[in-house]
């Protein structure tokens, strides 16, 4: 078998040339492209792994924050509940106080109304009693009630003991020798003279009397001088009547 050495060397050269050209145009480029792709894939995997780790960390952080938030919510809820309880108690206390105050006001008002009622009752009862007594006296004895009241007043003046007389005397002289006699009715001149005579006789001389008509003094007459007085009126009887009536009404109220 003949071998042409020129062809032999040429083929070696051709092969080496082909090897060089393929290394330049094929292997180098292809291997580089594959390696680059592998590197990119690896970097993407690494990136994905990093992202996964980061995501896990984020998730843990979120979980932790969520837990903290939950705990905080519980604490706030407890605090709010406690605050609401305290507020409720405070409001209840306030309401109770207000109710007590209203109740007290109401009771006060009730008492006042009761007082006003009894006052009114007393006034009416006195007027009625006065009218009834006067009519009775007028009908039975044919004597004016006012006359009997003046008589009683004069009797009381005359019945004053020594000590009382001295006190009144001092009061008259301390009050500028002025005496005021108030009555629910007008007193006739002769009767005024009788009163003056009785006073001068029993107590002292040298004073002036001034007569005033005062409807508030129920069917009565009174002498007032510097803190002392001599009086007679239906009030004394009426007050006893009112007390008895009050007791009766209160018993009625309690029973109802």
């Amino acid at each position: 078998m003949h071998i042409d050495w020129f062809v032999f060397l040429a083929q070696i050269f051709n092969f080496l040339l082909l090897m060089y050209l393929l290394k330049r145009f094929l292997y180098g480029r292809i291997i580089k492209a594959m390696d680059d792709r592998e590197a990119k894939i690896a970097s993407r995997f690494a990136e994905a792994e990093d992202l996964k780790v980061k995501a896990n960390e984020e998730a843990e952080l979120y979980e932790k924050r969520n837990r903290m938030l939950h705990e905080k919510k519980e604490i706030m809820l407890n605090e709010a509940t406690m605050a609401a309880d305290a507020k409720r108690k405070e409001l209840m206390e306030k309401v109770r106080t207000d109710v007590d105050a209203v109740k007290a006001r109401w009771q006060d008002m009730l008492v006042r109304e009761q007082d006003a009622f009894f006052y009114d009752l007393r006034q009416r009862a006195a007027k009625q009693l006065y009218a009834t007594a006067r009519k009775a006296l007028a009908d039975l004895a044919d004597v004016e009630l006012e006359e009997r009241i003046v008589d009683e007043f004069i009797r009381r003046v005359k019945a004053l003991d020594e000590e009382k007389s001295v006190q009144i005397r001092k009061a008259i002289s301390g009050g500028g020798n002025k005496v005021i006699i108030q009555s629910a009715f007008g007193i006739a001149e002769p009767r005024q003279a009788q009163i003056e005579e009785a006073l001068k006789k029993q107590i002292t001389n040298g004073f002036t009397i001034r007569y005033l008509k005062q409807p508030d003094i129920v069917s009565g007459i009174e002498l007032r001088v510097n803190g002392h007085k001599i009086a007679w009126s239906l009030n004394e009887y009426l007050e006893a009547l009112v007390e008895s009536l009050t007791e009766t009404l209160q018993k009625e109220a309690h029973t109802t």
Binding site: I12, L18, I31
Partner: protein, 242 residues
């Protein structure tokens, strides 16, 4: 048209142009053709390579081929496969392309010339010590020829030469004989039978390219591994003595 007649055993005998000792025959011409196809094709495909996920079909095709070559080399050398890809890959691609193009009417495989196969085997013959020495140094490589003792030196040398010769003759014999068989069958049998033989020829051509490349790598790898073994043994001895 018969470029290489039946009585011509090799395309070397088809002289196209000659001057003094310079001869351009069919072997060189077809070698250049194969080289041009490979280089231009590679350049054309690798002009716009993409390292992204979306790549062209041709790039995929080349990546598959290169990956297979790298994989085969990696199985033998374990590491540094890219270092041997140009030699082994070029051997495979050149021989495979030469053998496959036989189906093209008028084409004569350069590998059916013993000059070509001898040149390729010589390249392997030179590459084995080249890689061995560049990897482990001259001393370790030469010492391997005297293992287990100096008596084996002639046998090692004979082994190197004989396997080079084996590479040469195996490829040349297979391709040349196949061409001759197809040529003879065309003359004596109906048309269908030579077509089947051509298909068989494609298979044989690819297998021969694979065998040549793999054997080359085996020779290189055996030289490298032998050096590695010596290196490991020495390291172990140093470790024990220390």
């Amino acid at each position: 048209m018969e470029i290489v007649s039946l009585n011509q055993i090799s395309p070397d005998q088809v002289i196209i142009w000659s001057w003094s000792f310079i001869v351009i025959n069919a072997t060189i011409l077809y070698t250049w053709l194969v080289m041009a196809i490979l280089v231009v094709g590679s350049w054309f495909i690798t002009r716009h390579l993409s390292s992204e996920m979306n790549v062209s079909r041709w790039q995929h095709f080349l990546e598959v081929i290169i990956s297979i070559i790298r994989g085969e080399i990696s199985e033998m050398t374990k590491k540094g496969a890219d270092h041997y890809v140009p030699l082994v890959g070029t051997l495979f691609l050149f021989i495979c392309m030469s053998n496959v193009l036989v189906v093209v009417p008028g084409f004569v495989a350069p590998t059916s010339s013993m000059t070509t196969t001898a040149a390729l085997a010589t390249c392997v013959f030179i590459a084995v010590p080249f890689y061995g020495i560049s990897r482990n140094g001259l001393f370790h490589y030469v010492r391997e020829y005297f293992q287990p003792n100096f008596i084996f030196f002639p046998f090692h040398v004979m082994g190197e030469l004989s396997r080079t010769l084996a590479l040469t003759v195996r490829l040349f014999g297979n391709i040349m004989s196949h061409e001759k068989v197809v040529g003879i069958l065309l003359a004596v049998t109906p048309f269908l039978f030579p077509v089947v033989m051509q298909i068989l020829g494609l298979l044989i051509g690819v297998i021969q390219a694979y065998i040549f490349a793999i054997l080359s790598m085996v020779y290189i790898a055996s030289a490298l591994s032998a050096e590695d073994e010596v290196h490991h043994t020495e390291t172990n001895k140093e470790g024990v003595s220390a």
